[in-house]
């Protein structure tokens, strides 16, 4: 055992303790934590009780071997902390109280682990439910603890104010009370303070400042939520005074932050839902208060817990519509960071949201009927595509076109758009003569493949007897499954393709994009995900061997980096690693900067960067931000980079406030595919990338990079100052 090991342990414990404070507001911000710790000490004994509870809880959790990452994040500590402070405030200070608190903290830890076990099955957070159980148990039991006296603190406000800040505090307090206009603000601040069981304005003001520093979105949400609830009280004529005296207001604040920005990616829609949910929370609060009245225990944060869990669970049961009110899959430590990162995800890693479905054929096909088409793609089946093949003269048949065999698409192999189980096959329906339709067996010979829960693809009007698979069989992506025919409601041979949520032939369609294809219409575009339009000529994008090789990084490997910056040559080593959540990242061994990435055969995306923005890794991060492995000359595409990587903190502070609605600070990454070595064993590929920063649409900064990808995974990057970085990914 050496000193370093102890240092690490002490550090971890300190982190866990501090973060337990801010975790109450879903935050891991250190400054906010310290502020909250101070706030808890406004009442000395409450502060002591809290810190004892959280320390006992975290140390026990560490020593018992619970998930260290979670403990460090304060996730196991904050409930015990709340129980500690609550207990500490309720009873007279003394040794007995401290003993009680230690046991209460341990009890809360056990409850926490159990509640987590139950709720995590449904991917739901346990919020402050463990605290509720813990404090209720303590309060209900306390009437028999004769050695404990009830505390009268919290009732004599002036006394406390005076002891905390002398006459100044008392004056401020009086001044506040004297101004009736500020009543609502006062209640807001008191409610904030009530989260820490503090019934004083100082606590509220400090917490409000902390909240603002931690997150602009959380701050605006806390105000939005509180006011929504406040005015609902006003409108309904409920007893408003309850708010002030029974520590209820914070329910509205926490609910608002949770729904509006933490568990759902903040947007104008989450703010709107906050306004809808808060009156509901008010109703639940009042009814619960009446329900709990006979037992003599306060409801604390029960309404918040109920509403948040009900709503999140409901949200997750949706089949479509995940575009709105999107779950936060990677939670960052502030709602705005989550929002920016999500915008990155939405643009770049859509397959986190969408299952990749490829085109079900080889070669270039044309869309003869798209979504909401003029012939048959209507009503329940409006999100479907019809594909045909046309020649140079745009004719879909050769010779006279009177026979099905004349049609270019007829008899062409159909391949599975993605792997999955064959659910249904209809076979045995004869091809129609050209121009004829079979309205009885509308879909003709069809196949439905299940790719995921609620995600099925249907291919129709196939050739009778051409199926190469059977129902129940598992097919691989790209496997030949059947041939194009002319059966069913099909006047001429074509392929009908639709995505649906149920396994039956002819189910209602859903809107779902196809992935990784080249679309030619007026312009040639590479689509990572897209919905092909009428008359688009589309073909599957084929990954380029060199790019594919260069972006194939295996966790555990090392990358050697040689940079020539301003004539000076240096050598660095990066390491590829993966974290606890299997997210892959590159870490610089010197600067410890970390760039998270995601890569597969189709492309490479950086999705997050932490650390030194002057490092080579940051250069690589922005130059190689989003690279698709398919090479098509002169094709280019844009992607969004989160602005907080480039703009300074002051600008970002203002941006954060309106970020759910509008971004005036923009960073845009663009990639151009310039040149490839036309060869079956190519030697190089040249790409160009740019990063453009703009404020209200005015260009602020433009970076250019020329990227050369060579054999055996070598990536060369030259920036506009002709600094050169050579990255060798295969050492």
């Amino acid at each position: 055992m050496n000193l370093d090991k102890y240092k690490v342990k002490i550090n971890a414990s300190l982190n866990a303790t501090l973060r337990s404070y801010s975790q109450i507001f879903f935050s891991e911000n250190k400054f906010f934590s310290i502020l909250l710790l101070l706030v808890s000490f406004i009442d000395f004994w409450a502060g002591i009780s809290g810190i004892i509870a959280v320390t006992v809880c975290n140390l026990t959790a560490f020593s018992m071997g619970f998930n260290k990452e979670k403990i460090k994040k304060g996730l196991y500590g904050y409930n015990a902390l709340l129980v500690g402070i609550g207990t500490g405030l309720n009873f007279e200070p003394g040794i007995v109280l401290l003993i009680l608190i230690i046991f209460a903290a341990l009890l809360t830890l056990i409850i926490t682990i159990n509640i987590e076990g139950i709720l995590s099955k449904y991917s739901l957070p346990f919020l402050s439910i463990p605290f509720l159980f813990g404090i209720w148990i303590v309060i209900l039991a306390s009437s028999h603890f004769d050695a404990l006296g009830l505390s009268h603190r919290g009732i004599y406000t002036y006394n406390e104010l005076y002891s905390a800040g002398g006459s100044t505090f008392v004056k401020i307090y009086d001044w506040f009370n004297s101004i009736k206009d500020f009543e609502i603000l006062k209640i807001y601040l008191l409610s904030l303070g009530a989260i820490f069981f503090q019934n004083n304005l100082l606590a509220g003001i400090l917490i409000a400042i902390g909240l603002l520093i931690y997150s602009r979105i959380a701050f605006t949400l806390s105000i939005t939520g509180f006011f929504a609830a406040f005015y609902f009280y006003e409108i309904t004529g409920s007893d408003f005074a309850q708010l002030e005296y029974t520590f209820i207001g914070f329910n509205y604040i926490l609910t608002s932050i949770a729904i509006g920005g933490y568990f759902v990616i903040p947007s104008a829609k989450t703010y709107l839902w906050t306004l809808i949910l808060l009156p509901i929370t008010v109703i639940i609060t009042i009814s619960l208060q009446n329900l709990f009245l006979p037992w003599g225990i306060p409801i604390y944060s029960l309404p918040f817990n109920i509403v948040v869990i009900l709503f999140i669970y409901a949200l997750r049961q949706r089949i479509t519509g995940n575009k709105h009110l999107t779950d936060t899959f990677t939670k960052q430590n502030t709602p705005e960071k989550t929002l920016y990162l999500n915008k990155t995800y939405v643009q770049i890693i859509k397959d986190k949201n969408f299952f990749p479905l490829n085109l079900p054929f080889w070669g270039k096909w044309t869309i003869s009927q798209a979504h909401e088409g003029e012939y048959t793609h209507k009503g329940f089946w409006k999100e479907a595509w019809d594909f045909i093949i046309v020649d140079k003269e745009n004719s879909q048949f050769k010779s006279s076109g009177e026979k099905v065999e004349d049609y270019l698409c007829y008899g062409k192999n159909i391949i599975a758009p993605a792997s999955g189980y064959v659910m249904n096959i209809n076979d045995g329906i004869k091809d129609n003569k050209i121009g004829d339709i079979n309205t009885v067996q509308n879909w003709g010979n069809s196949i439905v493949i299940m790719h995921a829960e609620y995600l099925y693809s249907q291919l129709s009007h196939l050739k009778s007897g051409s199926f190469r698979v059977k129902a129940g069989e598992y097919v691989q992506k790209g496997q030949v499954i059947a041939e194009v025919g002319n059966s069913g409601h099909s006047p001429y041979p074509h392929l009908h393709f639709q995505i649906q949520a149920s396994p039956f032939v002819g189910s209602k369609t859903i809107e779902y994009p196809l992935t990784n294809y080249i679309s030619e219409n007026e312009t040639t575009e590479y689509k990572i995900f897209g919905i092909p339009k009428l008359n688009d000529k589309i073909s599957q994008a084929v990954p380029h061997e060199l790019i594919k090789e260069a972006i194939h990084l295996i966790p555990g490997q090392k990358i050697s980096v040689i940079s020539e910056i301003a004539g000076k040559s240096t050598e660095t080593v990066w390491e590829v690693e993966k974290d606890y959540y299997n997210q892959t990242f590159i870490q610089c061994t010197e600067t410890k900067s970390t760039a998270y990435f995601y890569s597969d055969e189709t492309g490479f995306w950086f999705n997050n960067f932490y650390g030194n923005k002057k490092s080579l890794l940051f250069n690589f991060f922005i130059a190689f931000y989003n690279v698709k492995s398919a090479f098509y000359k002169d094709v280019s595409f844009n992607s969004f980079i989160r602005p907080n990587l480039f703009f300074n903190k002051i600008l970002m502070f203002f941006q954060d406030f309106i970020s759910p609605v509008y971004l005036f600070l923009k960073s845009e990454f663009k990639i151009f595919y310039i040149e490839e070595d036309a060869d079956l064993s190519p030697e190089y590929v040249i790409l160009k990338t740019t990063v453009k920063n703009s404020i209200f649409g005015n260009e602020n900064k433009l970076l250019n990079f020329e990227i050369k990808i060579l054999k055996s995974g070598i990536i060369q990057i030259i920036d506009n100052k002709s600094n050169k970085i050579t990255i060798n990914t295969k050492i």
Partner: protein, 448 residues
Amino acid sequence: MEKLKYERPVINKINAGVTDKFGMGHKIPIIQELEGNKISDLTNKYGSPLFVISEKKIRDKYNTAKQAFTTRYPKVQFAWSYKTNYLNAVCKVFHSEGSWAEVVSGFEYDKAIENGVDGKNIIFNGPDKSIADLTKAIKNGSYIHIDHFDELFDIIKLTETVSEKPKVAIRVNMDTGIYPKWDRFGFNYENGEAWNALNRIMLSGKLELVGLHTHIGTYIMAPEAYGVAASKLADLAINVDKKFNHKIKYIDMGGGFASDNTLKGAYLPGKDTCPSFDDYADSITNALINSNLDTQNLPTLILETGRALIDDAGDVIATVLANKRLADGRRSTIIDIGVNMLFTSFWYDHEIYPTKQTGSHSEDTTIFGPLCMNIDVVRSAIKFPLIQKNDNVVIKRVGAYNMTQWMQFITMRPKIILIDTKGESHIIRENETGQTLTAMEKTPTHLT
């Protein structure tokens, strides 16, 4: 009223027996223009005989072929077979469509380079490659298709002096169930020679084995034969992968697809009997997809089709020199292009069309070329209308091989023009003159 055109009297035997299955009518269609250019305008401008190549037909045919394969297989590459027609203009049309070059000699190789083809996009075939040719090909990173062991040894030896690693494939010959079996090129599949060659390449460690090549024959009427060949190559590829953990990058199915010309002795016209690109594509791609090759990682399919791509695009305009009755009573017509320019008339019954409106009568006619040689027969028997001296005829589908195999003999080689996609004509090869020939001759001084 315009004076009616004179038509000589014809006597036709009446067949009182069973009518043939094609009926009685023998109205011969006429060709008055090629890609919008009047025949008479072309002959006035460029003389006769005149080879005419249609750029549009080349591009259309190429795209039809490409589409037939790309809609059935993920990775397809065409390589233009230089020997079929290596006129620079023709080659460049193919290259502009994305076709690589397939060459079989040092001369063709240099021509491809001059046509701007990247060395990496040249496939070097054939039994005759000199050390200098091989060195050049290795340095340029071209794909060398090894024909025999002596060549393999040459290449291995060359690795001692050339720093670049040669990229090679082997040509494989095999029994695909058709006759004749072309076993003189490459290594045999059935007797294990091909596998032996692959082992030697892999074990030498000095060559990069990139592909497998076969070329099962020419004018193949049975697409199934390609299927058999493709699955045999796929087996070799799989075995190489299994034994050496080495992925073959491409499978080259060569060429040999039939064009719409009718072979001599064929009962039905080629247009009706020859398989289409779709038939060949179906057979080849199904064989590859159904093989044990990994469908997610299929090798590129290379095709070296020559004839089927270019034959249709070339026509030749000729002029009637004389009409004459032979001793046995047959009619004969002499035109100004003979077998020395129209090599393919040894193999095909070329379609020949008049260019002016004729009467409804036709007569069994032999069409001779202008050479003073008995073998100079363009068509030995064709139902032909009664045309006169100085009338033009158009001979269809002469794009393949004629413009590379023709020879200067008795007459000079004529002009070749290309009609572009807008209908404009361009000379792409001048006619030869006496000067062309004498320029290369040298007379010993004692004879001057």
